[in-house]
Each structure stands twice: as structure tokens, then as C-alpha cells.
């Protein structure tokens, strides 16, 4: 059964002749027509995140004529984003993502309004930011923001068009508490932070957010125009390697802390505390604690002094092939627990990875195994390539 987010737009929401030409392929479809296109023009959609998922979502919503698009992001365009964040380009590296995205969208469609919020989406600003919008697109990359987006949508009774990706697999749903389950009904609690690797280290097939994001945009457009069957109470599971799409059924949880009849959450909470991790993926690389850190310049000095240090690189072999330090030896983290006998407790060790997150985990493992003369290379090989040997590639 189709559900529309909004009542039909006011009489004064009309299309200009330019817009009629632009949207003619919509206007001649009986499911859309002029009335559907006017609904699109009248709609207000907030994209939280303008990264891998937010890129195709915003591009297609803009092209389709969604009249008011808001974008929240705090980040800057980097070269390693361009493999999947197609709203940005080589010429916008270094710009604010929201500015880069706004310019691209207005180039596609000058007839729409773009509002940018160059901020983190937080408990402090989320309700106010989301208030003017009819529908929220969750294109975020971390658990705290996902729970925040969900709770904002439940509290403001808005649909949450959810998409999520990992490597070759994606999930899509529409969480709308008034009509079905919410995100918390499916995932009542986040995985403990110890079980979550950094996003940067998880990897993702560049085209995957394209597939999932366009599905999110499709759901948003269906909800705005009020056609088809929305993915409410259903979770779509996509596997790019198998090229399989499955749908499982979801139900509202009678115990849901926010959308059940007896909610215990009635206002936004501290999501970083709830998830035990920050609202962005940039400090996922939690160190082992300052006392365990060694900086790249300190390590470089030690090498220059000829200090006997065993430098262990715990990345994967395919990462080692991209770049490694000549002093290092490779023990991928998955192998390390089985190779503890190769460590001498009297040796000085430095553990390294790409950015210092995995090595911090491995350091804890070594320390708990009694190998205590260990340091964690702060910032990993990225820091080395930035500060010590700038000839090295950064990935």
C-alpha cells in the first residue's frame, strides 16, 4: 500500500515552462504526472552525510526535481573519497563537502533550493536541523549518528530512509514508526565498540553505495509522490558478489525503547555514550593510550641512533604491497595471536598499521600476553608518509 509523506502541495506550487521541459519524462508517466512533480517540487528532504550514500541520493533527488534538499556534513573532500563519492570531483578536493555538493547539485538542477549545514549532526542541533524537513535520508557512516537519525525521525514522526553498506553488501529500509518498525526495533543496541573496526579499514566496493544510495533515493521519491510499496517493515539485503537481492520482514518491537507504547526514550540522548564511540568515523583509530604511543619522529630518531627495535606491521599483505617501511616485518593481525611465541619479552617492539587503530588493538593483545616492551606507532604509516618520507604513497 502506498503512503505519501505530505498532503498535495499548495496551489501556488507550479512548474515553470523550463521545469516542464526538464521533467517531461516524469510528466508523461501516469504514476507521476504534473501532480506528482509538484509534490516533488514541494518536498523537503534532509540528507545526513554527503559521502558514498549521500552522493547518489542527492544527485538523483536533485535531478528528479525534489525542490528543497538539505545536506549535513562536516567533512572536506579528499582524493580517497572520489572512488565512491561521485557528487564531488577532482576539482573540489579540499573544499567543504557540503559546498562541493551544493555546486554540483545546482549545476544539475538550478530550479531547486539547497540548504547546507556544515556541521556534525549532533543531539544539540539535530531536532532543530531536521524540523523543516519531511523526510530524512540516513547516509551516515557510524552507529551513533544512525541511532540519532532514528530517534529524531521517531520523535518528529518522519520517515527515515535507511541505507548501509559494508564491502560488497548493503541494506535498505524505510523506518517510520507511525507505520512500522524503527531502526531500534531491528537493532536495539549497537555492537560494543571493541567489535567495530574503523570504517577506513573496513573497505567498500566503490559502486556499492551507488546501488544502495539510488535505492534510498527511489524509496524517497516513492514516498514523496505516494506511489508503490515503500520498504516499511521490510529490510532489503543486497549482495553485489552474488548479485542477489533478498527481503526480510521486520516487525515493530513491543519492547522498543523509543517507538513502543511505553517508550523510555522521549528525548535525544548522548549517542556517543550510548554507542561508546564518536559521532564520526575520524577518531575511530583510538590509540592504546598516550603512554603506549611513539610518534613517527621519535621512531625515526631511534632508527637513526641504531636502536634495536623490532617493528611489526600488522596490516594485511595486500596493504603491505601498497607501501611498507624497510625496517618493518609483516605479521597480519589475524595471524598474530598464533605467532606470540615469536616474540621475546626482552626485545623492544613497535607495532604499526595504516593509522594506528589496529596496532593499538594488537598492542593490547601483546601486553595481555606478557609482552610489555611495546609501543604503538601513532598515526601509522600514514603519519610516516606525511611527516618522515613524503615520497611514500598514502592510501
Amino acid at each position: 500500500m502506498s503512503i505519501a509523506v505530505n498532503p498535495p502541495p499548495a496551489e501556488d506550487v507550479q512548474l515553470s515552462n523550463d521545469e516542464i521541459i526538464r521533467y517531461s519524462r516524469h510528466l508523461i508517466m501516469p504514476e507521476v504526472t504534473l501532480s506528482g512533480q509538484r509534490k516533488l517540487k514541494d518536498a523537503k528532504v534532509l540528507c545526513v552525510g554527503t559521502g558514498g550514500l549521500g552522493s547518489p541520493v542527492a544527485l538523483y533527488l536533485a535531478a528528479a526535481g525534489v525542490g528543497n534538499i538539505g545536506m549535513v556534513d562536516y567533512d572536506i573532500v579528499e582524493a580517497n573519497n572520489l572512488q565512491r563519492q561521485i557528487i564531488h570531483g577532482t576539482s573540489t578536493i579540499g573544499q567543504l563537502k557540503v559546498e562541493s555538493a551544493k555546486n554540483r547539485l545546482l549545476d544539475i538542477n538550478p530550479h531547486i533550493n539547497i540548504t547546507v549545514h556544515n556541521n556534525l549532526f549532533t543531539s544539540q542541533n539535530a531536532l532543530e536541523l531536521a524540523e523543516p524537513y519531511d523526510l530524512i535520508i540516513d547516509g551516515t557512516d557510524n552507529f551513533p549518528t544512525r541511532y540519532l537519525v532514528n530517534d529524531v525521525c521517531v520523535l518528529q514522526n518522519k520517515p527515515n530512509v535507511y541505507g548501509s553498506i559494508f564491502r560488497f553488501e548493503g541494506q535498505v529500509s524505510v523506518f517510520w514508526a507511525e507505520h512500522g518498525p524503527c531502526y531500534r526495533c531491528l537493532f536495539p543496541e549497537p555492537p560494543p565498540p571493541g567489535l567495530v573496526p574503523s570504517c577506513a579499514e573496513g573497505g567498500v566496493l566503490g559502486i556499492l553505495p551507488g546501488t544502495i544510495g539510488t535505492m534510498q533515493a527511489t524509496e524517497a521519491i516513492k514516498l514523496i509522490v505516494g506511489i508503490g510499496e515503500p520498504l516499511i517493515g521490510k529490510l532489503l539485503l543486497y549482495d553485489a558478489l552474488a548479485m542477489s537481492v533478498d527481503t526480510v520482514r521486520l516487525k515493530k518491537s513491543p519492547d522498543c525503547v523509543i517507538c513502543s507504547s511505553q517508550p523510555t526514550i522521549t528525548e535525544l540522548i548522548d549517542y556517543e555514550q550510548f554507542c561508546g564511540m564518536p559521532l564520526h568515523d575520524q577518531t575511530d583509530e583510538e590509540g592504546a593510550g598516550e603512554e603506549w604511543d611513539i610518534t613517527v619522529s621519535q621512531l625515526n630518531d631511534k632508527f637513526k641512533e641504531g636502536a634495536p627495535i623490532r617493528l611489526i606491521d600488522v596490516r594485511e599483505d595486500f596493504e603491505w604491497d601498497i607501501v611498507h617501511l624497510p625496517q618493518a616485518e609483516l605479521i597480519p593481525m589475524g595471524d598474530l595471536p598464533g605467532r606470540l611465541s615469536e616474540f621475546d619479552t626482552t626485545d623492544e617492539h613497535v607495532i604499526m598499521c595504516r593509522t594506528g587503530g589496529r596496532s593499538a588493538q594488537m598492542l593490547q593483545l601483546l601486553v595481555s600476553a606478557g609482552i610489555t616492551k611495546v609501543k604503538n606507532l601513532k598515526g601509522g604509516i600514514r603519519a610516516w608518509a606525511t611527516e618522515i618520507d613524503t615520497e611514500l604513497p598514502i592510501y
Binding site: D141, S164, F166, Q171, C199, V248, Q361, S368
Partner: protein, 103 residues
């Protein structure tokens, strides 16, 4: 025999296998057989008390087993189970190691 679909991140612990045939008359028995076949999976699916982790969702023929009979839900030989992980865009829970070092 029932079949379990393994999501990408957990395939590391099933030698890359995506679909695993298991023995068992209930969801719980099938999952136990799965973790017997692939011991490393156990810590990803169960907590220290032997309970299914709260963020691990198990679906039987398209329905969340929490909406059926949980781990006691009966299976038939054609049953198809799948594990649906909690994923946060590029991130996904992944218990790479037991921090005590005793795998």
C-alpha cells in the same frame, strides 16, 4: 538439511563459505552446529554467557526469529536461515580477536 547464509564479514571465519548446511531441529541447534563446524564464529554470535548477541539478527525464511519462537523455533529440512549483521556504512561489527589471546 537447513541452510545458513553467512554475511560477508563473517565469511572470514567460514573459509569464505557463503552458505552452510547445518544439522538441527531448532534455530538454536542449527546455530550451535554452525559454531561447531566453524569454531571461530562462536564469539561473534554468542556473548560470554552463551546468549545470542543482541545485535545479531537471525531470520528464518524471511522472518526475524525474535518474532517467532526465538532459538526454539522449529526448523524443517528446507529451512533457510540468515544472519543479518548490524552495519554502519563501511563499518560492521567484527570481533577480530579475543583480547585475552586464548582463542
Amino acid at each position: 538439511m537447513p541452510n545458513i547464509r553467512i554475511p560477508t564479514p563473517l565469511r572470514t571465519y567460514t573459509n569464505g563459505d557463503t552458505d552452510i548446511t547445518v544439522k538441527g531441529n531448532t534455530v538454536g541447534e542449527a546455530l550451535h552446529d554452525l559454531t561447531n563446524q566453524h569454531v571461530e564464529l562462536k564469539q561473534h554470535l554468542y556473548n560470554e554467557d552463551g546468549k545470542l548477541r543482541a545485535f545479531v539478527n537471525i531470520f528464518l525464511d524471511g522472518d526475524d526469529v525474535r518474532n517467532l519462537n526465538g532459538e526454539n523455533t522449529a526448523l524443517n529440512p528446507e529451512s533457510s536461515l540468515r544472519i543479518v549483521p548490524s552495519v554502519a556504512g563501511g563499518c560492521m561489527y567484527k570481533h577480530t580477536l579475543n583480547m585475552n589471546g586464548n582463542q
